[in-house]
Symmetry: C2
Subunit: 120 residues, 2 copies
């Protein structure tokens, strides 16, 4: 990867989450989950500020589930957790890309990725 790496070692989690624009989508930020090893895109979820803070603190991906209307740590039931390797924010600070080490399949159907239905 030829991306620039900014040292964030000295910054607090709060300083980092404040750089993300949660307002554009009513408190949520779309978050792409990519497999760190295969580069396969596994899923997309949404995070609120609390979910991002929890993800930083625990090193495992937690989303805000719109269906459940609560924080939802991926794998909390299935055990198929996502360990955070890298977190990137895009140029206008309204989307996240997280590289993860995925334990087991990502999809509730048992498939590796949620994107298993090709329409073109």
């Amino acid at each position: 990867m030829e991306k620039e790496i900014h040292n964030t070692g000295s910054k607090s989690i709060q300083e980092i989450t404040e750089k993300c624009n949660f307002e554009k989508l009513g408190g949520l930020i779309p978050t792409i989950i990519q497999d760190n090893a295969t580069h396969e895109v596994r899923m997309l979820g949404f995070m609120n500020k609390e979910a991002l803070e929890k993800t930083f603190q625990e090193g495992r991906v937690t989303f805000f589930s719109r269906t459940k209307n609560r924080l939802w740590t991926k794998g909390e039931t299935s055990g198929n957790t996502q360990t955070v390797k890298e977190i990137w924010v895009d140029c206008d600070s309204d989307t996240l890309l997280i590289q993860v080490e995925q334990r087991g399949p990502t999809c509730h159907t048992g498939k590796d990725t949620c994107f298993s239905n090709q329409i073109k």
Copy 2:
């Protein structure tokens, strides 16, 4: 890729777009753009039904720009177009993943990808 390939050759564009859930996010569906050659995630945009239909018809990616409040064909000004290679929909039909051949850089900053700011 070990994904299943469904034959959509005989389906109309309308039949395909009707399979996508645009209602969950007020008429828009988040769309991940991934480089077909390098598997790098380049950007995320939003499509409404009209943008997806145009993307199918022309074979180039068109989004609905929330900022411009209109259809926005990627590269219409810069020339850095995205030619569609594959389109995948996720397990609950509310997110798209498009594999593209990207001409030039994706980001308005001149970088290959919009995800060039690492926060962890």
